[in-house]
Symmetry: D2
């Protein structure tokens, strides 16, 4: 039996949301153990977090540069580092670890801007290290079922994709109220210095775009976007309407919003082809509605009848026993572990694994840049 | 007790869909009796239909001109005529009856094109007759509840409206197959000579637009539209993406499609304001989801608790006893009957009734024209 | 074309619920016209109701005896009378009209008690007249689809039936509060003199039992029932648990309640056979879930793909255009009209029609009696 | 920071279902590490499983007796053992470990029969060790919300509880077909020697009963049960109807079935009180419908607005990010870890923790025995 992969972490200390998610995801299938990290830019928070996480004090570092340096000198150095900081702190740590040959798991979006994204792609390519981006929604079993059905032409040539990602937590001006519950989360997400040029479009719109790409494998030709900041004083968009044209002739749209009261985490995708259609909703993720021409609609159930092997492989328990967000996230960690082991054992990766990578990340950053470009030119169509 | 209003009908003979709907709608609340008509351009079909409908043979006419002429000479002339023909046969019959002072109920969209629409508005204004357009979805009890909630500021100032109307019945090329089930319905709806410049956008997109206007009372400032004909050989659009900007600063979008497999009659509207949001779906029309900031979402039920009087008035039976499409349609007939009686009894109408009228119809035709204009100019923003 | 059938009505005046439902149901398909009636035991209410309903004053009667007498003397006598009074006023009027050879539509349950029910069966048989009981839920298109699927053995031999009918409107003691909204409806339904020995079990439990019989055609062998009056001071049951054993070896249960807060009109039936199962819910009546072994569940849609002809015949508009309670009710009226015309035109009825009849009514009354018998003997199994 | 608790496991080797679930549950919150075990009665399977689980070969044992003996001699002995074998192999291993003072997590139902259950209670009490039973559905966040709402009297005094647990995987005779997918799971569950006197009622009916007890804290007074074996040749019941009477006067029912085609894991509970009602369904577990008198129904969302602290504590991620079965299971492990630490650190447990314990297990075994007793006497009421 293989040992556990040694995992380091940058960010994700006490009070953070996504760091804890990464850690649970890394534990679910027991392929990783967290052994090193810098958990916050605040030294006390970082130290307390490290203790709480039972990190050997020798492997709790002052900053990521020290960590990359020191870990690279160890026999039992980390196999992979998870970078779970705000967007402006993705590129530099990633480059630093990649330059030491350490593999990287990075939270999305890839970087603060397009320049950084191109730079990071280059560094990844030169490094020979593996790089995974946690567009976690691709980890859901039924999302993989959808992708496989389309690969198998069960829907016929795709005509249309309707995606939406609606939330409501930024309906009011949380980012200016230091005492509000969501202040910490809201303040960096609405700050161009830490988030980049995209607000809602970067935080969640990219998830919707990534999901379209993952499920349909359509290539985007051009887009027209209308970004809005509804909340007074907000610098970045909190709502986006995007129209899409794909190279194949298919069309689509994305609506993403963080001011749509009553939507908690409403990521929905619908795909229509010449022979059939599917519909999937993240808030009820164990089911996929499938409709084919002149037949009644069918409710496919995770791990149930008529499910493709690739989807079953992303499921741990029988149909009717719901899996959720954390299990989907864990599938990304799991796929990446399999790729890492192939690299460790064979020196290179020749099999194909389905975790999102640095090119998916680049596409996401490009998507943000292009939507902003279109929106600032009154929704002109912008080539992708 | 008032007598029943005497109703005539143009179109709606055997094999038609919407004519039968109008007749049922007119009967549900017993305010009308059908007494005269021309039911088809095919004389045999018209005659057989008249017999089946128990029309006095003296009041079954050869054509609408004869009917308008002869009815206007009778003591017991029809109070109102329902025009339920394809789009290109709305304007002329309507003008003909209006010129005789006969009130009109007309199916949507109002006319074949914008010229006809302006002409019709003028004729209505001159005639002094009343004119109702059957944008029937405004008749649903919970649609009226939604409108009333927004009037009462229960959602706060409106920021965003997402509407969609998705069907799948034109996924294949029904209009070229004379033997297909849907041929009759498909052939005129995909023929510019009979439908006008809009296909899907005219047939159902206008319903979505009308519903937005009815529920929110927002005034449209400009739009950008991307119309597509996915089915090879089809002359008119079968899918439309439309982005909307309202005068108030609110934004919105409409997606309408007739090639979205798995959607039977999926008309959905979601409205988001500063304080709350609502969601309503025509296929499950007795409920309205209402969410206000920092509170759990509520399921309002037709005729149930916390329902406004105006919505209860549009309901016939207790909560939990579902009403549907026909009852909503009947509400339009009912509202119009009430207006007609005020006119009959008082000579003029001073109260406000909520049936859609010729101005709503004009807006719809303008909407079609503007979406086509935008779409043919690569989605340029077009002032409304 | 056939003329409209002439309909009379007993009960259903102003303030009543079910009378208005019958009248709408009779109008939807235009097979009836209401021409005579006694609408209330209160003469003023009856007279005002008659006027509102545009009844010829000569055909508004003092009581049902006068009406039966006078109508039977007319050339244009009523073809059928609808009896929509409380339970204790079903038997005598029905007998009175039947004895004049006038066909009857009667609201459920059939009579106040088992003696009356047997008597009524005898009178119907002797009279040669037709008799329909408005177990209206059998009129829903998808209920008929369910029945047809079971007839066609699509579920295999039936093992199990789970039915429930849950409401909440009697959660509090409405019947003692003259000013409460539901007082009129509640007071007679909770009064043994007017309702008989069953409260909730008679008012709605019989609907559930009838639906089981209609859909599955299973014959009941024995039952065990536990009836409860939860609301202090209430004389009749407001909740019932019933276990069922059928002659075929199948088993089942019925739960009916009028004190289950959050349930408006929650009639649900689920049937399981050796090869498949179905589930239908009255509050979302246009769909039927169908599951067969080792296949994903399918959502059958009213008038959509894979629907049996008998179900489509009970539908007026295309799939996705919801029909509801009133349309289901209208189907009973429609079926009965067809039977009446066969009788009128051919002297007797040889075809089979699917409206509920006096034998279904007798079974319902027996069901009430047997559940009460079982419950008062601590749920002993009672032969049916 | 506390170390991880050292966990041993009996059963759960390759091919088992619930063992893997326990292991994932133990990892999610990082309170445990699996260090020892006997994973199968088949030595090869056990050895291979141990390797796959990275168990030190010195701590992979031949049988549970050896394991209890050897572990109890180690300084770093296991803190707790998880027993995840079929029902007939719960009692003896549990007793063996308890006698060594080792705490136990045991799968449900507690034991093979009532004698064993009483014996086990006694041993637990004497041992001073802690004992948890994995009635995992009590771990769902929204189940705890339901319980807390009832504790807070938000529903008023409880009148009625309707619970059901429906599956379909035993619709056919899997247990006789060695090659069927579900053979391994089916064969012991339908074998009285390994499962005890209850089939479906023991496997899943006990979950429903436990959920009722957990949520409502009602005490059962008596029950009447009708157990059926629908599948020919099956020795144990595969369907159960149970009527319940509680000491408070409340009533209830349980339907559990493993032959209800279309039901994957349909555990649903509805509770009705004088002031309100709730409904929760395991297959969509992040939501709880709450209805109070004369108000529209509300959809409470896990970790969302109006959720009690005790429910939020059982949630790891924000509302709209679904959690599922594994997270619920992990909550039981988590609660038990907290109790174990109190015992380790303070020598005894004085706080109250909400994991199911040996007394809940005893109640479940009693429930099975009483339902079988009632059923074999034609559903006579049996005191609990």
């Amino acid at each position: 039996m293989r040992r556990r992969l040694r995992l380091g972490m940058i960010g994700g200390g006490q009070g953070a949301f996504i760091g804890a998610v990464h850690r649970i995801a890394s534990r679910i299938d027991d392929q990783y153990e967290l052994v090193a990290g810098v958990f916050s830019s605040n030294p006390d928070v970082s130290k307390n977090s490290a203790e709480e996480l039972r990190i050997d004090p020798n492997r709790h570092y002052k900053n990521y540069e020290e960590m990359a340096e020191m870990e690279s000198l160890r026999e039992d150095r980390i196999d992979v580092v998870a970078i779970v900081t705000p967007n402006h702190l993705h590129h530099d740590p990633a480059v630093c670890f990649l330059n030491k040959g350490i593999n990287v798991i990075c939270d999305k979006p890839l970087t603060l801007n397009l320049n950084e994204a191109h730079s990071l792609v280059e560094v990844v390519e030169k490094s020979g290290a593996l790089f995974a981006l946690t567009h976690n929604y691709t980890g859901y079993s039924m999302v993989r079922q959808a992708r496989e059905m389309i690969k198998n032409n069960e829907l016929g040539p795709i005509r249309l994709v309707q995606a939406e990602y609606a939330q409501d937590w930024l309906t009011t001006n949380l980012e200016t109220n230091h005492k509000s519950d969501g202040y910490k989360q809201a303040s960096w997400r609405t700050d161009p210095k830490r988030s980049g040029v995209g607000g809602c479009i970067g935080d969640i719109g990219t998830h919707a775009f990534n999901l379209i790409s993952f499920i349909t494998e359509l290539e985007l030709k051009e887009l027209s976007a209308d970004l809005t900041s509804f909340v007074p004083g907000r610098e970045l968009d909190d709502n986006a309407q995007v129209m899409l044209r794909f190279k194949s002739g298919a069309k689509g749209s994305i609506w993403s919003s963080q001011v749509a009261t009553g939507n908690e985490n409403g990521l929905t995708i619908r795909v229509y082809g010449e022979k059939g259609g599917i519909s999937w909703n993240q808030e009820n993720p164990n089911y996929l509605k499938y409709s084919s021409l002149k037949k009644p609609s069918v409710i496919l159930s995770r791990s149930g009848p008529d499910i493709h092997a690739i989807s079953k492989d992303a499921s741990r328990i029988p149909a009717g026993h719901p899996e959720g967000y954390l299990e989907g996230f864990a599938n990304i960690y799991n796929d990446f572990a399999n790729a890492l082991w192939e690299k460790i054992e064979k020196g290179k990766v020749v099999s194909s694994y389905i975790y999102p990578d640095v090119y998916d990340g680049l596409k996401g950053i490009k998507f943000i840049a292009k939507t902003v470009e279109s929106s600032t030119s009154n929704c002109i169509w912008v080539k992708f």
